[in-house]
Symmetry: none
Subunit: 209 residues, 4 copies
DNA sequence: TATGAATGAGAATTCATTCAT
DNA sequence: AATGAATGAATTCTCATTCAT
């Protein structure tokens, strides 16, 4: 089902990811650098992509999808909703470098660079609702959770997804910004978030609107 | 009390803001364009700033401070916490263009461009706690709200600030991404958020940890 | 045995020489002008050199070596020392423009521009003794002359090389400055210099120190 | 008799000298730097000079004259020709930094920069024969020496001046290039030069041409 | 198909000179 | 007369893209 990628195409995607993970400034990546890392000729890249923008945008799209798929698979292994949330929060702590990339990617989507425009265009083409695939993961996990129960109204679904996403997102931000002093404080906030999310889901579901 | 700005310096700051509001890609702003908009000679800008990066970073810093001050003043005029939150959410809807700038600014802080590094450095120098001044506004509003009551532990404060910030932030994101279909849905979600935030504050305060 | 030069590299070297011969001010040569003359794109020059300074410095180095090799070959064809000296003095008269370049090059070595620093660095790397290759030519001619005879002490060698160099050099300067009135005067001075140099060599060799 | 200089004019001349002595690259001196050092406003300099070139050229001319006057006075105090020559050679050793400036100045005269052109023009206007005032000093010293004796032909005078100048000049060059190993070698070469010059003067005078 | 040498448009920055005060 | 803020022409260098091999 999933699209097949040509070897050189994939090499480009991986090279961009590596550079991104090394902290390169996305707006100053050069084609030379990317193709050098990908181990292919500069001209060759233009056989596969229309230009630099497309290269980088598709690389992010590719890696974003890959990440979301893996994230969803990991979440599914957890037994209940509370642990699913906790899994994500813990994963964030354990893979700080990776999280950093995700945040930068998400952030990038809101700037007005040509790369962002390309990614947004790709997302639109793929008819992926919501801002980023991460949102989709949350929605899917939520739907899995509510399976068998009555689905809430779309308003409430949007609110819940937003609410969950925002908390997880901000926890990541706080981690990155080194807001916390010590593991204890981190654990305390993690507990508050997981419990907060669970409680909110229950509340919203029990609300009569 | 507030720092005085030289006319040409301010002209640069405003020109950057205007360009930003017009949707320019911050990472591709040119000095020529900025000074042209500011109505000053290209060389003149270099009398006030060490280079392009400093120009843009200080412009964001200047405009960010201005925005936060105005936001705080607006919030203070509201009578209770629920309405304060609602004020922000409504303001976001009414000033979509402006919000967009704020989001892009906040996002920019997490990329690895040289401008971001400059802004982060400026924030550090000014000893502004937290990631961005917006966080400070929330903390201040929260402290005002809790005035006279017993302050919760720092863990809980961090959690509350994060939680509020993230929901407001995500509402803004959703607005920008045109997630909502119609004013009704928007209003419903707005209500859920305001109530959700209020409830959470009360809950956390009543928690025994 | 001699190093091979890439076509575009050599094109740069020749373009710099032509500009130099046309009387361009070396310290104000522009990359645009050089590449235009070399018939290559501006960016191409940067594929071969790290910057303007390296371009010009290496051009001088290349042309200086070429000149010294040709000079030495010309000198070798003359039958005795007196005629060797005269050959150089006459050559200087006949190739005023070329001499002018050599003088300017030699002079340039003593200014503090970045190009000079580059050339001095190149000379040092190549382990060429003495200030400029021209000095080497003199030393070699002198050694050829003394072949079979007892070599004088290093003090005396230094003195002789200096003395010869300085006279030839100053004759060239005088030519350039148009000190002489008419060919007669020029010829007279030329004779005095050639004889003066020969006499001095003999004297020094016969000195007991 | 000597021209009077306005205070600000002289301040410029001295500032240029100081910068030159500090090893500044003459072709990259800026008006800002010169006037800053001179302690006057940038605009003020343009009240006295038509532009940067004139500033620097006149500064060199002024300082060159000053130097030559002092050199001549120092030479005159020595009792005979041999000691006069030796005085100059020793002075060169003792004032290496200053000599360096003189060499750079002399060298500069042969480049094709606009400053050089200006200096050459100034020299021409002042009807100063020969390439640089230093030449004049030599000629004057030589004429003093020959006072009372029959002056040689102009050919011979030119040759003698050239010869003396060239040796002194090259000794300085050798000093600067650190050609010598130890004071002994330096002293030996100094002796050879002084004696060589004296002998040559005598020879030329006794020549029947 | 794959390549990378060649290109030149375009960017940041500098600095001599002007001119209003 | 003295100033220095303002200017913009001119310069160096980068890098996305092309195209001959």
């Amino acid at each position: 089902m999933s699209k097949e990628y040509l070897p050189k195409e994939r090499a480009i995607y991986q090279a961009v990811l590596v550079l991104f993970e090394e902290g390169a400034d996305i707006n100053n990546l050069t084609v030379s650098e990317i193709t050098r890392r990908a181990g292919i000729g500069k001209g060759t890249a233009y056989e596969y992509f229309s230009g630099k923008e497309e290269m980088i945008a598709k690389a992010f799209f590719y890696n974003g999808e890959l990440f979301c798929r893996q994230l969803y698979e990991g979440i599914c292994k957890e037994k209940d909703f509370y642990h699913k949330v906790n899994y994500v929060l813990l994963a964030m702590e354990q893979q700080v470098a990776r999280m950093d990339c995700i945040f930068r990617l998400i952030h990038m989507l809101s700037d007005n660079s040509s790369v962002s425009r390309w990614i947004r265009e790709l997302l639109r083409q793929k008819k992926i609702s919501g801002e980023v695939p991460v949102i989709d993961v949350i929605r899917r996990v939520l739907q899995d959770e509510l399976d068998g129960r009555e689905l809430p109204s779309e308003d409430k679904m949007i609110y819940l997804v937003l609410s969950i996403y925002s908390k997880v997102f901000c926890y990541g931000m706080a981690l990155k910004e080194e807001t916390f002093e010590g593991e204890e404080q981190r654990e305390a906030v993690r507990g508050l978030i997981s419990r907060g999310i669970c409680r909110e889901v229950e509340e919203i579901l029990s609300l009569e609107l």
